[in-house]
């Protein structure tokens, strides 16, 4: 289907283009101008793509050749023919490409020089003699440091980098089986931390060098030059390379978007030669890696009854053996009931090939992941990506077309709790199924259990909550070399996302409190789209004069994002009624649209002398509609330099030292994460009242906004040393950075008494410093049949808040406090001393209103004889102090093996689920709670259960604070390449077994220390039940045709 659409799309464009061109008068600059004006007029649309396609396809017609010299090009390594090698007759425009079998033919006269060039091989020159046949054997280009990496709006040789750019080892990264490319970064790069969730299609949080903003810390993602917010919609299998730009110097070219770092993703490009087809398929089985130890029916009834007795209440009939309603026949293990095996299916098919004038890579990817929780929840994605690229003479051109459609059935949780939290806290005396209740699922009653307990299985099976996304991206670019070294590039891209979210909550009875009446049965439908248009014009110039190498770039970058949303809500559905809006008893609807525009001037200068001294400077000026007119401009710049010690003649290094480079950088960037129009106060006209039973419209200002809100600023300094030993087999990098963020946008909490909603104002009221070391080392040994590679990376991080809030007022989060001089979101809680053992103990201790014997005794930190909020203390940082990754891979003959460990540590986690399970109320309990204090069990640290918890035993305290350190065997893979006799169809076939999240070393008792907490929030260390990452075992096969 997609293919047909695409084909049609091309056909339309091509036809239009042809007719446009054919109808051009000969001397047609004016006409072109008109055409251009037309494109200009239509710019937010796809017109630019059309224009670019014109150029692209028109160049097909320019091929011309005469036949004189023939030959075959082969690889010096294995003697295989090389298809697509470019052959140019030096000093002329005559050129040719080798065909699929390496044959070439080019018109050339004796004495002329043929230049053979091919990616990955050293180019070679041959002078033509009298012969009419020249066979050439090209040598592989083996210098590892000559690897070209993609930097912003350009490329650079890895050895010439003066900023902090980490190149991801894709072979290793790709062994992480995921729907999200971002997840593949976990543990691969020093200084990059990833938090993920086990929810199929759930979001992944990435931080580069810690938290430098209170609002948004996710890096910018650039896929093939296109700026995207997250790589969520793109298939990971298609990725060719990933670079992480970590410091201000390397990210400065992205200006206000680059403050959190930039991840540059490059998808596979067409390679010259025959059609190469690759198919990769895997199926994986997911299971929850760890479950909570919760009480069964008897344990639950014992604890809850004790809680009621301690509160002077009667025992709930369902828990009372003397009652006729005593429950003995239900003993639900909710986790056992809910967890099943989730399935991952991933098929990927790619086609690659082409000629120099047009090469292609097309990838089709299907991903499906069903949840390991018994529910309709799953994630399915179909994606297509086509890259076209080619060159002809002074022109280079390319295009990208991507289409993704995904369907995610979302998990549902009740207001204020998470699905996992509700699941583990569900009472065992509630049945999963109950035919007597509307909907067929069990519930609790006020009369019998008294517990308000959500049947998560029922809730999720009844509710239909789906999100569909369709995303089209198109990018087209052309480059012309006006004079030697001077290139002009034009790049237009279009990114459209259409989404449709539906949530239908049918009439049902899930027990007390979770009754959905007909009037409450509702359908919410939300559809919308976001169109993003980027238009870049860049001019670059490079000049080599003797030992001086000079590169410059200047450009104008424009972007526009238009979003539209239309929502409808229908309420009032009979049980079984068709869940469409028109069947609702009442409907309401609304719409909104937003526009964000930006215009930036970018520039960069690189200078290197004798491959010894490297200098780079960047400047970018941004203007954005996100801020008011007088605050909408931001200047960003950076400088960096490097010194290649090893290339100095006066320094004599041992032979085994191949490379030493020192580099340093400094730069200032911005961050503009703020919703549109957030500087202009508006009125809300829905604040009505009713008089005489009729609606009386009401209008008022609801929210407080700061009209002077402006960009966040970010300054980073970075020093590093890079060492390569033993012909760069062993490479080592050590780096130190300091990142100062100022003018940070904070939703500063306002006292309730201001009357504003939300009770906060977003303003530039924060500053933070992040600093840390990053180390990475890689050792490759490819010299024997047993080849192996070991790499490791470690990043440390220290975060310190330098300024916060209005008047330096600290900001409180969930069990946390953020204040100047400490790190963001440190845990802030009471300290426990023990348990009140008797009345005398109680009387002798500082006043704790309503405390009783068996309750927790808290520490009177300030010594005022009373336990109050002033007695809370800091109890640990929530940002890991260090994170690391270790990779080992080896191959021997047909076998390959790899193992990847990653971890983080030095941080504390507030285990909120554990708190809930230890609260001793009507919800289910942790088995630890069985050891509760009573007059006969006094040697314990678990307080008495008591309904109402009058002493607030469950308040934020060290009882629920745990170390977040973990080390995880994230991936292990064994592959075997099946020996295949030479044939024309299958070239290579490989099978593999991959395991993920296989083993975790941690003292954390929650489901997963790698949990996804709120981004940039003051409550980072608060685990309230994220979906634990599953354990996954996959089997896969890869075939090349």
């Amino acid at each position: 289907m997609i293919l047909i659409c695409l084909y049609a799309f091309f056909l339309i464009i091509f036809t239009n283009v042809k007719s446009t061109l054919i109808n051009q008068p000969k001397n047609s600059i004016m006409t072109n101008k008109r055409l251009f004006y037309y494109c200009n007029f239509l710019l937010p649309r796809k017109a630019w793509l059309l224009t670019m396609v014109v150029m692209l396809f028109s160049s097909f017609n320019l091929i011309a050749q005469d036949k004189v010299i023939k030959g075959v090009v082969t690889s010096a390594k294995d003697g295989m023919t090389l298809p697509g090698v470019n052959v140019i007759v030096k000093g002329t425009t005559r050129s040719a490409n080798a065909d699929f079998d390496g044959n070439f033919a080019v018109q050339a006269n004796p004495g002329e020089v043929l230049i053979f060039s091919y990616i990955g091989y050293a180019s070679q020159q041959v002078t033509v003699g009298n012969q009419d046949k020249i066979n050439v054997s090209l040598k592989e280009d083996v210098n590892k440091l000559d690897e070209v990496v993609v930097i912003g709006y350009g490329t650079q040789k890895k050895s010439d980098l003066s900023g902090a750019v980490s190149v991801v080892n894709m072979e290793s990264a790709k062994k992480t089986i995921t729907y999200d490319t971002a997840k593949m970064l976990q543990g691969q790069v020093a200084g990059v931390t990833v938090q993920s969730s086990g929810e199929p299609g759930g979001f992944v949080n990435i931080k580069i060098r810690g938290l430098s903003s209170f609002s948004n810390n996710n890096p910018l993602f650039v896929i093939d030059g296109m700026i995207v917010d997250a790589p969520f919609d793109f298939a990971p299998g298609d990725v060719e390379s990933m670079q992480v730009l970590k410091d201000a110097s390397s990210a400065a070219i992205y200006g206000v978007r680059g403050a959190n770092g930039v991840v540059i993703i490059t998808t596979k490009k067409g390679k010259l030669g025959k059609l190469d087809v690759k198919y990769k398929s895997l199926v994986g089985f997911q299971n929850v890696a760890k479950t909570w130890d919760v009480t069964d029916r008897v344990g639950y009834q014992t604890i809850t009854s004790a809680a009621e007795k301690n509160a002077g209440l009667t025992i709930a009939p369902g828990n009372d053996p003397t009652s006729s309603s005593y429950i003995t026949n239900v003993n639900t293990d909710w986790q056992k009931e809910a967890y099943e095996t989730g399935i991952i299916k991933n098929h990927s098919l790619s086609f690659n090939g082409g000629a120099e004038t047009m090469a292609y890579n097309m990838n089709l990817d299907y991903f499906n992941n069903s949840s390991y929780i018994k529910s309709p929840q799953d994630y399915e994605r179909l994606s297509m990506n086509l890259n076209l690229n080619g060159k002809k003479g002074i022109f280079k051109y390319g295009a990208k077309i991507g289409y993704t459609q995904s369907d995610k059935e979302n998990f549902n949780s009740y207001v204020g709790e998470t699905a996992i939290g509700a699941l583990v806290g569900a009472v065992p005396t509630m049945p999963v199924y109950d035919a007597n209740r509307l909907g067929g699922y069990g519930g609790t009653t006020n009369l019998t259990q008294r517990a308000i307990s959500l049947n998560v299985i029922g809730f999720n099976n009844l509710i239909d909550n789906s999100g569909k996304r369709n995303r089209f991206i198109g990018d087209i670019w052309g480059e012309v070399e006006i004079v030697k070294g001077l290139k002009y590039k034009i790049d237009a891209s279009f990114d459209r996302l259409d989404y449709e979210n539906r949530r239908y909550i049918p009439q049902s009875d899930l027990g007390w409190y979770y009754i959905t009446t007909k009037d409450e049965a509702s359908l919410d439908v939300s559809t919308g789209s976001t169109d993003k248009t980027f238009f870049n014009n860049t001019l670059s110039y490079s000049l080599d004069i003797d030992k001086h190498k000079f590169d410059a770039l200047a450009g104008l970058v424009q972007e526009r994002s238009d979003s539209y949303n239309h929502w409808s809500r229908g309420v009032g559905y009979d049980y079984g009624e068709i869940s469409k809006l028109q069947y609702a008893d009442a409907t309401s609807t609304g719409e909104s649209n937003t526009t964000i525009t930006g215009k930036s001037f970018i520039s960069r200068i690189n200078y290197s002398f004798d491959d010894r001294y490297l200098l780079q400077a960047n400047f970018r000026q941004d203007k954005s509609s996100l801020f008011s007119e007088n605050n909408n401009s931001s200047n960003n710049y950076s400088f960096s330099g490097a010194w290649k010690l090893s290339n100095e003649k006066f320094i004599h290094l041992p032979k085994w030292v191949s490379n030493i480079k020192l580099r340093a950088s400094y730069g200032k960037l911005g961050n503009n994460t703020i919703p549109p129009y957030f500087f202009a106060t508006t009125i809300n006209s829905f604040a009505g009242y009713d008089f005489n039973n009729a609606l009386a419209p009401g209008t008022t200002v609801v929210a407080s906004l700061d009209p002077n809100v402006k960009w966040e600023d970010n300054e980073t300094s970075d020093v590093a040393v890079e060492i390569g030993l033993f012909e760069n087999d062993l490479q080592f990098t050590a780096e130190y950075f300091v990142k100062n963020s100022t003018n940070l946008l904070i939703g500063v909490p306002l006292p309730y008494s201001t009357g504003a909603f939300p009770a906060s104002i977003t303003t530039n009221a924060g500053a933070m410093e992040n600093k840390g070391f990053e180390f990475s080392a890689t050792y490759n040994n490819n010299h024997h049949a047993f080849k192996y590679s070991i790499s490791a990376n470690l990043g440390t991080l220290k975060n310190e808040v330098k300024q916060i809030g209005l008047n330096g007022n600290p900001i409180y989060g969930a069990a946390s406090k953020t204040e100047v001089g400490r790190s963001m979101g440190e845990i802030y809680a009471y300290e426990t001393v023990g348990i009140f053992q008797n009345a005398a103990d109680l009387a002798a201790s500082p006043t704790q209103t309503n405390a009783g014997v068996g309750d927790i005794k808290f520490r009177d930190v300030n010594g005022d004889g009373m336990i109050s909020d002033l007695d809370r203390t800091y109890q640990g940082v929530t940002i890991p102090k260090y994170s690391y990754g270790m990779n080992f891979s080896a191959n021997y003959k047909n076998w390959d093996f790899s193992m990847f460990w990653q971890g983080a540590g030095g941080n504390k986690v507030f285990n909120s689920i554990y708190r809930n399970l230890m609260s001793g109320q009507y919800g289910n309990h942790h088995t630890d709670m069985l050891n509760y204090w009573s007059t006969t069990n006094t040697n314990t640290d678990v307080p008495r259960p008591i309904i109402g918890d009058p002493n607030a035993n469950g308040r934020d305290s060290n009882r629920f604070i745990q170390k977040g350190d973990y080390l995880r065997l994230q991936t292990m893979e064994i592959g075997y390449e099946i020996p295949i006799p030479v044939n024309n169809i299958v070239q290579k076939a490989k099978v593999f077994v991959n395991g993920q999240n296989l083993w975790t070393l941690t003292k954390y008792t929650g489901a997963d220390p790698d949990f996804n907490s709120n981004d940039g929030s003051f409550s980072r260390g608060y685990d309230n039940g994220s979906f634990p990452n599953p354990r996954t075992i996959s089997l896969g096969v890869e075939v090349n045709f």
Binding site: I29, K33, S588, S625, G698, P751, L806, T849
Partner: protein, 514 residues
């Protein structure tokens, strides 16, 4: 062909640099297309009306009369008890609200100030509008003063030392209780001056009136023990001559006889106005209904959540005195459901429905403000349209009687108490208990008010202002009536200042006892 295309391309490229742009400088200025800017508002009569309507709007959300405020006012009294599984509710009546979890009481606090903010917007902007109709302008300002006074009344009454915002500012510092009351009194005075006695247009039914302002002014004086001024204010209400008691007591608590002659001010709920979504709070949206969640919260078991139940003390006290026709006080059946032959609730027979469970059969459930007279099967749609009567004429009469007693006119109090007793057919107090002393009359007024206003949020206000919690005898007596008083601790007659206020309003001091 080849050269021609090169020319075209060259043309494109050179022109591109010069002419191309998808973002012009004008595009860099974007205005919110979805909401009007505040600068365009506060221009017309209609703007002024909509502005003040929004200030009323804050009465309808969760923090105020949709749910939290009635709960917070009722649960601490000896007329109610709570077995709610939600600790934030359960602990209210046990004087044990959690300082670190501001659920319910914090929502109330937040919403009172939201209402004040909206009223202040009116008071700040409407005077600048050139409204030709000065009566309209005065009325709107009067309404805004009334509403600000009303929200502040709640805040001071329940949270003691609170900020007193009288004009829009960034931060409002904490003030003393006395400063708070002074502003409440000033606001109700201004409101009484500006507001009309009644509205001619039926569509204005439910707006604040002079009577409401005077009634609350009297109440504010009474709560600050300024009995002479309270007496004057209540007398002014009585002398307006527009209020009278409705003959059927229960007409004050259903949706069939709203805004009646007994009502000075009520929060207007309606199932028919607005959308059907529950307007809990936050930024108002089009779909919001104007309904209350009180009925489901207080509702009898299996018809609602039963978070609030009447006490047996209340039940028994109704049984103390029979009517002149030797019947039970009719207010008993109007107030609660209990196992009485023939008692019906939501179309079901009480004895039959709860017959299977002795615990329920012998329990007491709330009836006041429940939609239980037969038109609805239960409260589970959360949407009650019954107006919450904030100030009834019966209250004016009893408060006036109290003022008379406190200003040494104990005999004069009999007249006004009896007006309230007569409605429910109770015998003449002057006959049954003649010649009471001032102290005896105080207790009598306590008893009368207990039976007239249970579940209406007045009982605990009375207990607090009468100083019973500081009186060991009275406190012991309260504990004997309602075990929830056992966990009372000094200072806990007020709620804690919410943590968010403590944390973000520098210098705020927590109430004693927390």
């Amino acid at each position: 062909m080849k050269h021609k295309i090169y020319n075209y391309l060259a043309g494109f490229f050179s022109l591109a640099i010069v002419t191309t742009s998808c973002v012009t400088d004008d595009d860099l200025i974007q205005v919110d297309p979805n909401n009007d800017a505040v600068d365009s508002f506060w221009k017309t009569d209609q703007d002024a009306i909509e502005g003040v309507n929004a200030a009323y709007g804050s009465l309808l959300t969760d923090g105020t009369y949709m749910r939290s405020t009635p709960l917070l006012l009722d649960l601490k009294g000896d007329d109610t008890r709570s077995n709610s599984p939600w600790d934030a509710m359960y602990n209210v009546g046990r004087f044990n609200s959690n300082v670190s979890n501001a659920a319910i009481y914090g929502w109330a606090y937040e919403t009172y100030y939201q209402g004040i903010y909206r009223a202040n917007q009116v008071l700040e902007n409407v005077p600048k509008i050139s409204i030709t109709d000065s009566a309209l302008k005065n009325r709107i300002l009067g309404e805004a003063y009334f509403l600000r006074g009303l929200y502040l009344f709640h805040a001071v009454n329940m949270f003691k030392n609170v900020p007193v915002p009288t004009q829009i500012a960034a931060i409002y510092p904490q003030k003393t209780e006395a400063e708070g009351w002074a502003q409440v009194i000033a606001d109700f005075k201004s409101a009484a001056e500006f507001l009309p006695v009644s509205y001619s247009n039926a569509n204005d039914k439910g707006r604040a009136t002079k009577g409401a302002a005077l009634g609350y002014l009297g109440k504010a004086y009474l709560f600050t023990k300024d009995f002479p001024n309270a007496k004057i204010a209540f007398k002014q209400v009585i002398d307006l001559g527009v209020y009278s008691l409705v003959s059927n007591y229960r007409d004050n608590f259903t949706d069939t006889n709203e805004n009646n002659s007994e009502s000075l001010f009520e929060v207007q709920f309606s199932r028919s106005a607005g959308g059907v979504d529950l307007g809990w709070g936050g930024a108002p949206a089009t779909g919001w209904g104007k309904t209350s969640a009180r009925a489901i919260t207080y509702g009898p078991r299996a018809f609602g959540w039963t978070d609030v139940q009447p006490t047996f003390t209340l039940f028994n006290e109704y049984k103390q005195e029979k009517t002149t026709t030797n019947q039970d006080d009719p207010r008993l059946d109007a107030t609660m459901f209990y196992n009485k032959p023939g008692m019906m609730l939501y179309g079901q027979n009480f004895a039959t429905f709860y017959g299977g469970n002795a615990g329920d059969l012998n329990d007491l459930f709330c009836r006041k403000y429940q939609n239980s007279d037969g038109a609805y099967a239960n409260e589970f749609d959360w949407r009650s349209g019954i107006n919450e009567r904030l100030l009834r004429y019966a209250d004016i009469l009893l408060m006036y009687a109290e003022c008379l007693n406190e200003t040494s006119d104990t005999p004069g109090a009999y007249t006004y108490i009896q007006m309230v007793r007569n409605r429910v057919g109770l015998p003449n107090l002057a006959t049954t208990k003649p010649g009471m002393s001032q102290a005896q009359m105080r207790d009598q007024i306590g008893h009368e008010r207990f039976l007239e206003f249970p579940l209406e949020g007045h009982r605990f206000d009375d207990i607090r202002r009468w100083g019973w919690l500081q009186d060991p005898v009275k406190l012991a007596w309260l504990k004997s009536r309602d075990v929830e008083f056992n966990s009372y601790a000094t200072g806990r007659e007020f709620f804690p200042i919410p943590q968010l206020e403590m944390d973000n309003n520098p210098g705020t001091i927590q109430n004693t006892g927390y």
